[in-house]
């Protein structure tokens, strides 16, 4: 039993640490692959992976007195692994691309000044309705469904300033009333639900509010034409070069963790098979 406490237990800790490193890097690689896959998706926001060490542990050394009274002496602290804590969407503005389609819209955050009250710059979103729920999106590639309603390519209703679905006049050219544009300074509280759509998961009182009603808009005398462009789309904000570089790094980190795991394996092999072998 002594050996478990002194030796093998410590070795196993390292095995799990390097294994956790492999798992975390694999998850990070998946996140990066997904970013890369969406390099052509309008309004897509790339996600940044945040890795975090396992909570710290205090490591003790056990000393045995002649009277076999165990005395513990602290060595120091140790993280025993790493995990992918979260994927943080980067809401940096994507480039605008002209499409000439009058059901395409792009939002431009860069036109917004920094809020003097909070010293933060906010982000803008369109509102769409799926079932009864209101969701948010940056993908302004809309279409008119067979019932004449303005929807996303996924069939969610696009909402106007009164948060009502929009019936498009088709008599001549489609006429689209002003869209609801939401403003928030905490875009991190929006979680992805796929198809370019986000759900607000933060405090219900702080959810995106109509831009025209914000003090920022009124005080700075902003104009809606500065923040929304019809006939344009916002391109994905994925930086393919940076993503590729990071994928290579992540791959090598995965490999390094595998090597460490192999080293542990060899040590264990020695312990199991060679120590105490009678030649």
């Amino acid at each position: 039993m002594e050996s478990t406490r002194y030796g093998v237990g410590r070795m196993f800790r390292g095995v799990y640490t390097s294994a956790s490193g492999m798992i975390a890097n694999e998850r990070k690689q998946q996140m990066l692959t997904n970013n890369l896959a969406n390099a052509l998706t309008p309004g897509f926001k790339q996600e940044l992976a945040a890795l975090r060490g396992f909570p710290e542990m205090l490591i003790h050394q056990q000393k045995e007195f002649p009277a076999s009274l165990p005395i513990q002496e602290p060595i120091g602290t140790l993280h025993t692994g790493v995990y992918l804590q979260e994927g943080i969407p980067s809401f940096i503005q994507g480039d605008l691309q002209e499409t000439g389609k009058n059901t395409d819209f792009a939002l431009n955050d860069l036109a917004l000044p920094v809020n003097p009250a909070t010293q933060q710059s906010g982000r803008l979103f369109f509102a769409v309705q799926r079932g009864e729920e209101i969701l948010y999106t940056r993908n302004g590639e809309f279409t008119v469904n067979p019932d004449g309603m303005l929807t996303t390519s996924d069939g969610d209703f696009v909402l106007d300033e009164a948060l009502q679905p929009i019936a498009v006049e088709t008599e001549s050219n489609p006429v689209i009333p002003p869209l609801w544009i939401g403003y928030t300074e905490n875009p991190e509280q929006l979680t992805r639900v796929g198809h370019g759509v986000f759900r607000w998961q933060g405090d219900a009182n702080e959810q995106p509010q109509l831009l025209q009603n914000t003090a920022l808009f009124i005080d700075n005398g902003l104009d809606l034409s500065m923040v929304i462009k019809q006939g344009h789309l916002e391109r994905s904000n994925v930086d393919t070069t940076a993503t590729m570089t990071e994928m290579i790094t992540t791959f090598r980190l995965y490999e390094a963790n595998q090597k460490v795991l192999q080293a542990y394996d060899r040590t264990l092999e020695k312990t199991a098979n060679d120590i105490g072998r009678v030649y």
């Binding site: 896959a37 499409t99 389609k101 590639e141 992805r192």
Partner: protein, 285 residues
């Protein structure tokens, strides 16, 4: 299985479809009246990984709990671009060009016996002998569908004419050496929601559904240019000209290159995922 492998593989096949659409646009860069298509993408529904769901333990976290992993991109829709193509002068009497977006010639098949009206902007017309009457010819499109007049009839007249003229209002006048002449009024359709048009090949499009419904909800309007009922829009017919394809080669080449690069990125991601699986596989050994 390494999930990035699946993400990259599925995205690769979706990008291939975009490649197909771009290639088709490029292939039709010289097709009169061709309207380009654009492909658009959206990200695929995320899968939530539940790890460490205890908020107080998650120090420094900025997003709500859970990790939402995306699974690549998917082709969400293709849309047709209805912009007007350029004019190319051919000086051929049977070449007609529609000047005005979203406006289409109405045609009907002569052979399959159906009443279905299809729409085209391919104005390179021809005269085919009328199978029912050997002295007559029928005005048809290049693929042999008869062009309709405002009474929904095929345009048929006795061969041996001297002159065939179409004015800006779409009135076709056939003059004979004897001094007689016949007039026909071409029927046009204005379709305000081009996304409902379904391409059926041979530069023809179909509106899937009941024609009356489309007329009632304003999607489809039948135009008789000689009546001037064109809602103040400037629509006219030009004889001796064809409308070129509205595909911009520069734009399509750019799309082709970015798509090709995106495919390469996915290929690289697949190979990385494969190597990672190889590493996992060779921990022991």
């Amino acid at each position: 299985m390494n999930p990035s492998l699946l993400t990259a593989a599925s995205t690769l096949s979706q990008l291939q479809r975009k490649m197909d659409i771009v290639s088709n646009n490029i292939a039709n860069v010289n097709t009169p009246g061709y309207k380009g298509r654009q492909a658009s993408f959206h990200d695929v529904l995320s899968q939530t990984v539940v790890n460490q769901m205890n908020q107080p333990e998650e120090i420094g976290r900025v997003t709500p709990l859970g990790v939402r992993m995306g699974l690549g991109a998917k082709l969400s829709a293709t849309s047709i671009s209805i912009t007007q193509g350029n004019e190319v002068v051919t000086d051929r009497d049977l070449d007609l060009m529609i000047n005005g977006v979203s406006t289409w010639f109405r045609t009907r098949s002569l052979t399959d016996g159906s009443d279905e009206v299809t729409y085209t902007r391919h104005g390179a017309l021809q005269l085919l002998p009328n199978p029912g009457n050997g002295n007559e010819v029928i005005l048809t499109t290049a693929d042999g569908r008869s062009l309709l007049d405002v009474n929904d009839q095929s345009i048929m007249f006795v061969a041996g004419y001297e002159r065939l003229a179409v004015n800006e209002q779409g009135t076709l006048q056939v003059a004979y050496p004897t001094g007689q002449s016949l007039t026909f009024q071409l029927s046009l359709a204005k379709i305000t929601r081009p996304d409902l048009l379904e391409s059926i090949g041979d530069s023809q499009f179909r509106l899937n559904g009941n024609v009356d419904d489309f007329v009632n909800n304003g999607t489809l309007a039948l135009l008789d240019l000689s009546n001037g009922n064109v809602n103040g829009e400037n629509i006219s017919i030009k004889q001796g000209s064809l409308e070129t394809s509205n595909v911009e080669l520069t734009h399509e080449m750019t799309e082709l290159m970015t798509t090709q690069r995106a495919i390469q990125f996915q290929g690289r991601a697949i190979s990385m995922a494969d190597q990672m699986m190889g590493l996992a596989n060779s921990i022991r050994g």
